[in-house]
């Protein structure tokens, strides 16, 4: 593998914001997650929990609740607006003012025809879901306090609403209040769930999970779960299991089981407790096999239920998703510059001379001139970024890419199109729009460009499809065969013009753009199969780059390791040791050659955000230690610890 001078960068103060709400769509197996800064993230649970889409947040749009209606995603927030998202173009489609003050909760009926929101002024407002928009239908009977939580009975006739000190049950058709279940003292019913057997389960600020008979309004059972608040509830699809998230960071599971083996009488019994969070659990989702939780500590935790999955498989492993599945760091290889992307600003750092410690001066501002070399700027909102006069079409870009001679800028745009802009010293000029084939209106996700001996190319990856465009003639060059899993990182080799694509299921493909087919090495890799340990890794490869010295080297990294693939060496057999760098070091020279294989993996770094090889053959590793992130969090609720 050789030795590198390593710039170990640990000053990228990236801080994800707290998870506020979650909604799981069991049909598409996608989890929508909204953070405190309003950013929306879509995770594809079917495809290795890959973070498929990110819609950046906007100022003053704190989202409180999320709701899937079929494939459509609605959110509501304290600004009193209901927003539907355009998941293709990654932007809000429209917003509707509810005129009820801040909205605390949103929900839809099972049929997907009606949407209801609970407002600060005590009204539950019903909206009819139309094909392109939603339309206000009516108000339910207005209450005195704010409506904090709502749940629709599966039949669609009854609505349970959690309020201050009470739970009210409405008839959804007439809008009349039917009854209420008073609480004894000052509590907030943070969450309610209406089950099909007319049981209402509530979680409140007194730390209780209470089970009510929804027809008679009587309290069946109280479970005191915590000394603090029960913030959220989630019921499994078959209503046999319920989870409650608390301010202590615990998730408590309740199960609907019979008390004796043979009898049919079942009751809700508290069973497991999961403690995977240090702070409030604000959002929960109960999938078929797992408990998904997120909260103030910004991590998304997928905890499989061991009675639902096979033991000791990849599926049964717990996942903590702490860092985004995108590269937030760019590296200018020639100039030795690092660009850190924050939600609202950018930072450029210059790689300094390492004198052991303390290095690198900052240019803390947004704009960069990249005449010497190209620089990819994956800015979320390019409108604030570029040179003074931007073409009108470039108002929404998710990814940017410069051509290698810095004369052209490529920006992804709506409807999966790519806008090509010509650049010179002073101005930029709209050149062309690369449009996908008709009928496909999806979004460009990945984006790279490279020098190619015949032509200049740009590539576009659209969900699972990778398309290549020639950048001089600006026409479709070819399309890489479709693979079922999302590509997580794409790069074109600067000299051999091979395209390397890494997918969310950890597969690696190499595609020759000249021959328009998979290369020999890629075929061999597919034939032999990747090493099982490689496939077991649970974080996606977020960046691929190449060594300028040795064209056979591909450098890629995920959160916990970086790997140099030496294409000249044999591939590892299924029985060989994959992580063999330490053993290789102890072997003599002759032995070493015999034992080495193509995957050279270095695990010295943790929580890697970026690994890049500079032109002077030194390595830049940007780390973001989780402990640093934890230390920036506010103090959790005080808990009595034993012997303190």
């Amino acid at each position: 593998m050789g030795e590198f001078k390593v710039h170990r960068v640990r000053f990228f103060d990236y801080m994800p914001s707290a998870i506020r709400a979650m909604a799981f769509n069991s049909h598409t197996e996608r989890l929508a997650l909204v953070r405190a800064d309003g950013a929306l993230e879509i995770f594809n649970f079917a495809d290795h929990y890959f973070q498929e889409k990110v819609i950046p947040g906007q100022d003053g749009r704190a989202v409180e609740a999320l709701c899937w209606v079929g494939q459509r995603l609605f959110s509501a927030g304290l600004n009193g607006e209901i927003t539907e998202y355009d998941l293709e173009n990654l932007r809000p489609r429209y917003t509707v003012e509810a005129y009820g003050g801040p909205i605390w909760t949103i929900g839809s009926n099972k049929q997907g025809t009606l949407l209801m929101v609970g407002c600060e002024d005590g009204t539950v407002k019903m909206f009819e879901i139309l094909k392109e928009r939603i339309q206000f239908q009516r108000n339910l009977e207005r209450q005195k306090g704010r409506i904090v939580s709502l749940s629709w009975h599966p039949s669609g006739t009854l609505i349970a609403a959690g309020m201050m000190d009470m739970i009210r049950i409405f008839n959804a058709e007439t809008g009349k209040e039917m009854q209420h279940d008073p609480e004894s003292r000052e509590v907030v019913v943070w969450s309610v769930a209406f089950l099909s057997d007319y049981t209402i389960i509530s979680g409140d600020s007194a730390g209780k999970v209470q089970i009510w008979d929804g027809l008679t309004g009587t309290l069946v059972r109280t479970h005191l779960v915590t000394k603090w608040d029960v913030l959220c509830l989630s019921v499994s699809q078959d209503e046999s299991s319920l989870i409650a998230g608390t301010s202590e960071g615990t998730v408590v599971q309740f199960q609907f089981i019979s008390s004796t083996v043979d009898q049919q009488e079942e009751e809700w019994v508290r069973t497991r407790t999961f403690k995977n969070h240090s702070h409030d659990v604000r959002a929960l989702a109960h999938t078929e096999t797992a408990v998904v939780s997120g909260g103030m500590d910004t991590q998304l935790v997928v905890r499989p239920l061991l009675d639902k999955v096979e033991k000791n498989t990849q599926e049964s492993a717990m996942r903590k998703i702490a860092l985004p599945h995108r590269s937030l760091v760019c590296c200018a290889k020639k100039a030795g510059l690092l660009l850190f992307q924050f939600p609202d600003h950018l930072e450029v750092w210059r790689v300094g001379e390492s004198d052991g410690h303390g290095e690198e001066n900052t240019h803390t501002h947004t704009h960069t001139h990249t005449h010497t070399h190209y620089l990819i700027l994956p800015s979320p909102s390019s409108s604030s970024l570029q040179v003074s006069k931007l073409p009108k079409d470039l108002c929404l870009g998710h990814q940017l890419c410069f051509s290698s001679d810095s004369t052209k800028l490529f920006a992804s745009s709506r409807h999966s199109s790519v806008i090509v802009v010509a650049l010179n010293q002073l101005e930029c000029k709209y050149l062309h729009t690369l449009k996908p084939k008709s009928g496909e209106s999806r979004l460009a996700l990945f984006f790279s460009s490279s020098y190619f001996q015949l032509d200049k190319l740009s590539i576009v990856a659209i969900e699972t499809t990778v398309t290549i465009y020639g950048s001089v003639c600006l026409q479709l060059h070819c399309t890489v065969p479709i693979y079922s899993s999302c590509p997580t990182a794409i790069a074109i080799h600067p000299t051999t013009s091979h395209l390397v694509v890494v997918h969310a299921d950890q597969q690696i493909f190499e595609y020759s753009l000249v021959q328009k087919e998979y290369t020999e090495w890629s075929r061999k890799l597919q034939k032999q199969g990747l090493h099982s340990l490689w496939l077991e890794r649970d974080t996606p490869v977020t960046h691929v780059t190449f060594s300028l010295k040795n064209p056979a080297h591909i450098i890629l990294h995920d959160m916990f390791m970086f790997c140099i693939i030496d294409q000249s060496l044999p591939l590892p057999e299924s029985k060989t040791l994959l992580y063999n760098q330490m053993t290789l070091r102890s072997l003599p020279e002759q032995e070493r050659i015999r034992h080495s294989h193509a995957f050279k993996i270095c695990k010295n770094f943790k929580h890697v955000m970026c690994v890049s090889l500079l032109e002077d053959h030194s390595l830049v590793v940007v780390e973001r230690p989780l402990l640093d992130m934890m230390s920036q969090l506010p103090a959790p609720v005080r808990q009595k610890k034993f012997a303190t």
Partner: protein, 803 residues
């Protein structure tokens, strides 16, 4: 009490009553618990032991009320029988022999079909294994609701076996969770009505298992309050552990729990009466507490507390005649031997005991009573890792009003190192009481009750140090006062020093190399001139303090040596639990038995009888005045007493006396030793060897300047090498008497013994000294003469002329 009987070892009590879970009867009136080889029936209201169901020949391993007849109880034992008792009347109803099971390495749970038959002794033949590889702890196996299933935990696995379906489900836990808690199961309990199994774990968690009739969809919830292992769980979801707090969890409202703290010691078992009104908890200090409705401790049944080790020796409180030893941590227990009941605990340390494992706490390591029982001295120590030893010597005075001991003086750090021995002066009539303590710091200290001369006269007298003694920087091990308190013997490794407590003068040193002295004991009454000691080199020595010489010694592996305070008898326990009872003055042991019990005898004590026995059997006479109690490792408290019920009297004939002990003793008795000067005694006493070489050695080792002329010695020396014709048995006692008086004059040691004992004593000395008038000049006599010559030093010529 005139009947004669042989001497038997009888298990007297003090056995563990916390060995297995006790059982409360259906009417909550009785409590049954396994206690050693018997089952004891206690009254739950009066704490009184009502019946002692005896019959098993080995440890009772379980007690159970018969479900079909709640006035009968089953008990099982390691002797392979199951017995059925009527516990209200204390009658054995049936005995069932279990077939001997092939020894297998794993514990098996077997179902036994109990045949219905009228005979009292029935052999059960039908056995079927239900589960294999179960835990040996009976708390880890329990029947479920209505006996439909059985749950058993072993290691990290819980196994549930359904009898109807004949199907077993196994659930395992991970070996170790991340936080270092151990998931090992410790105990199991089942809900009586619901299908819910509660399991206790090593890390203090309790798991409630539900849905366990599914291979995969089983589920459990975790409760956590205990900080270390949950040692017991009961069906009412009561749990207990080392914290000695009884925790009652509310089923289905597990966040709410009730506590009953300060139960005194770690909880080992919890039992609940069938109506749920009474709980009883067994504790690690051999105690059963009966609790009414989880709030009130209504009765405490306390057995003999046996801690990790009996640091203090067994003692007899002279006043109450109760056995005293250290019991609960930091306490001395007073235990009635007659009633097998704990009388009371005396808090010595007077500090809160913290129930946590691995914590070094103050422990009572030494205690001593004075002869009248007015004073009690205790030593407590705490050795923390990396810290200095903390020592306290406390002296307690008996308070007549409260009838208990009251702390008089606390001496902190009486010594710089551990105290190895402590004893009171035995003199009952002396004005001042004296305590001597020996320590590893190389000193022994005498403590005396000093009259208070200071202003605060109302405080009364207190104790202070009177004398600090040392001997060549050696470490003192044992100390002993003579019966009259006039002599103090302190052993310094292999040297025994004898001091006069009145003047603190070193009177003499006795030595029996090469190993250190292990025990030291003065003879009593008529034998009070003898000092006995045992050494590490398996030697039992007896010194005559009048002659300051070794009276006899025998090679014997003595682990324990003790004197009967009421008679001359001494008892010695060998390492293999052999017991010898002897008088220091007599050649034959009064009693000997090879193995009185299995295992080593760790502690023993002579306890005075309440009324004297009139036994004329020679072998059992020594038990007339007192009984010998001893403590073994396994059985807790045994006593040696004459069995009065059995008529068959065992005659100990002379063949019994032909034990190694006797042979050696007899041999050494023949080899009489002259009274050497204390100064030269160290070398002269060394290694009594066969007769011929003694003379040579004597000749060669004696310093040249004290030897008579060679021409004089020559004839004697040659004679010594000749074969002797007659034995040295014929010795004139007159000469002996002469010698005694002579010696008394020489050593200015006052003889306080009454004149009544003296002749007897002198007679007992036997051939202590050689007679000058021994007519045939035998080798032995010659040697003796030679020695005497040497001893007399200047007057040897005169002595020679006499002969």
């Amino acid at each position: 009490m005139v009947e004669h009987g042989d001497i038997r070892v009888v298990h007297r009590g003090g056995s563990k009553i916390n060995f297995r879970k006790p059982v409360i009867t259906n009417d909550s009136r009785f409590l049954l618990c396994a206690s050693g080889e018997s089952v004891k029936v206690f009254s739950t209201s009066t704490e009184e032991c009502i019946h002692d169901l005896r019959g098993h020949t080995d440890l009772v391993t379980g007690v159970l009320i018969k479900p079909s007849n709640h006035l009968q109880a089953f008990s099982c034992s390691a002797d392979g029988t199951v017995r059925l008792w009527d516990f209200t009347d204390g009658i054995l109803i049936k005995v069932r022999l279990l077939p001997s099971i092939v020894v297998c390495p794993l514990f098996q749970l077997v179902a036994v079909h109990l045949p219905q038959s009228g005979d009292q002794l029935v052999e059960a033949r039908e056995l079927s294994a239900v589960l294999t590889g179960i835990s040996s702890n009976p708390a880890a196996t329990v029947f479920g609701r209505g006996g439909e299933y059985i749950a058993s935990a072993n290691g990290l696995q819980l196994e549930v076996y359904f009898f109807k379906k004949q199907k077993a489900y196994r659930f395992s836990l991970k070996e170790d969770n991340k936080k270092g808690g151990k998931n090992t199961f410790t105990c199991v309990a089942c809900h009586p009505n619901d299908d819910c199994i509660a399991t206790g774990h090593e890390d203090g968690k309790i798991r409630l298992w539900r849905n366990f009739n599914h291979k995969k969809e089983y589920t459990y919830s975790t409760l956590h309050w205990h900080h270390s292992a949950v040692s017991s769980l009961s069906t009412n979801l009561l749990s207990g552990g080392i914290e000695s707090v009884l925790v009652q969890w509310r089923y289905n409202q597990e966040n709410q729990r009730d506590f009953l703290p300060r139960l005194g010691a770690a909880i080992t078992h919890i039992a609940v009466s069938p109506d749920g009104a009474l709980y009883c908890t067994s504790h690690s200090d051999n105690k059963i507490t009966i609790i009414q409705s989880c709030v009130k401790v209504s009765a405490v049944i306390q057995g003999l507390v046996k801690g990790e080790s009996v640091g203090t020796d067994l003692m007899i409180d002279p006043r109450s005649k109760s056995l005293v030893l250290n019991g609960k941590p930091g306490h001395l227990q007073f235990y009635s031997l007659q009633r097998d009941k704990l009388l009371y605990n005396l808090d010595i340390v007077q500090q809160e005991y913290i129930h946590e494992s691995g914590l070094q706490q103050f422990e009572v390591v030494k205690a001593a009573f004075d002869a009248s029982g007015n004073w009690l001295a205790t030593v407590e120590e705490r050795k923390q890792k990396g810290a200095e030893l903390e020592l306290n010597l406390k002296l307690w005075a008996f308070d007549e009003q409260t009838q208990s001991f009251v702390l008089n003086t606390t001496i902190s750090a009486p010594h710089e190192a551990q105290i190895t021995g402590m004893c009171f002066s035995h003199a009952t009539d002396s004005q001042t009481t004296m305590l001597v303590s020996t320590s590893k710091d190389g000193h022994f200290k005498a403590w005396q009750l000093a009259a208070q001369s200071q202003t605060d006269a109302d405080e009364g007298p207190s104790w202070s140090c009177d004398f600090v003694g040392a001997y060549h920087g050696l470490v003192p091990e044992c100390c002993s006062f003579s019966a009259d308190g006039s002599l103090l013997a302190v052993s310094f490794q292999e040297v025994v020093t004898v001091w006069s407590p009145a003047s603190w003068e070193l009177l003499t040193t006795l030595s029996q190399p090469p190993k250190a002295i292990r025990n030291l004991c003065f003879g009593r009454l008529s034998c009070s001139k003898y000092l006995l000691g045992t050494t590490d080199s398996n030697l039992l020595c007896c010194w005559n303090l009048l002659t300051c010489s070794l009276e006899w010694s025998t090679s014997m592996d003595v682990s324990l040596l003790l004197a009967d305070p009421l008679s001359e008898n001494m008892a010695a326990f060998c390492c293999q639990a052999g017991l010898f009872v002897f008088k220091p003055s007599e050649p034959r042991p009064l009693f000997s038995q090879k193995a009185v019990c299995s295992g080593m005898v760790t502690r023993a004590v002579f306890a005075p009888r309440e009324e004297m026995l009139e036994s004329c059997e020679e072998s059992s006479q020594w038990l007339n005045r007192s009984q010998l109690y001893f403590l073994t490792q396994y059985m807790v408290n045994n006593t040696n007493r004459s069995a009065v019920k059995e008529k068959k009297s065992l005659v100990i004939d002379d063949s019994v006396a032909m034990t190694p002990f006797y042979l050696l003793l007899g041999k050494h008795r023949q080899q009489q030793q002259g009274g050497d000067d204390p100064q030269s005694g160290v070398s002269a006493e060394r290694t009594p060897l066969p007769q011929g070489s003694v003379a040579i050695k004597e000749l060669l080792q004696t310093p040249a300047h004290v030897l008579p002329s060679t021409s004089f010695l020559c004839s004697m020396f040659v004679q010594s090498l000749l074969i002797s014709v007659t034995d040295s048995r014929e010795e004139s006692k007159h000469a002996e008497e002469e010698m005694e008086s002579e010696k008394e004059e020489e050593d200015s040691e006052e003889e306080i013994e009454s004149s009544r004992t003296r002749p007897e004593q002198q007679a007992a000395v036997g051939g202590g000294e050689a007679a000058e008038s021994a007519a045939p000049a035998m080798t032995k006599a010659q040697v003796r003469e030679l020695r005497r010559v040497k001893k007399l030093d200047h007057s040897w010529l005169a002595g020679l002329l006499d002969s």
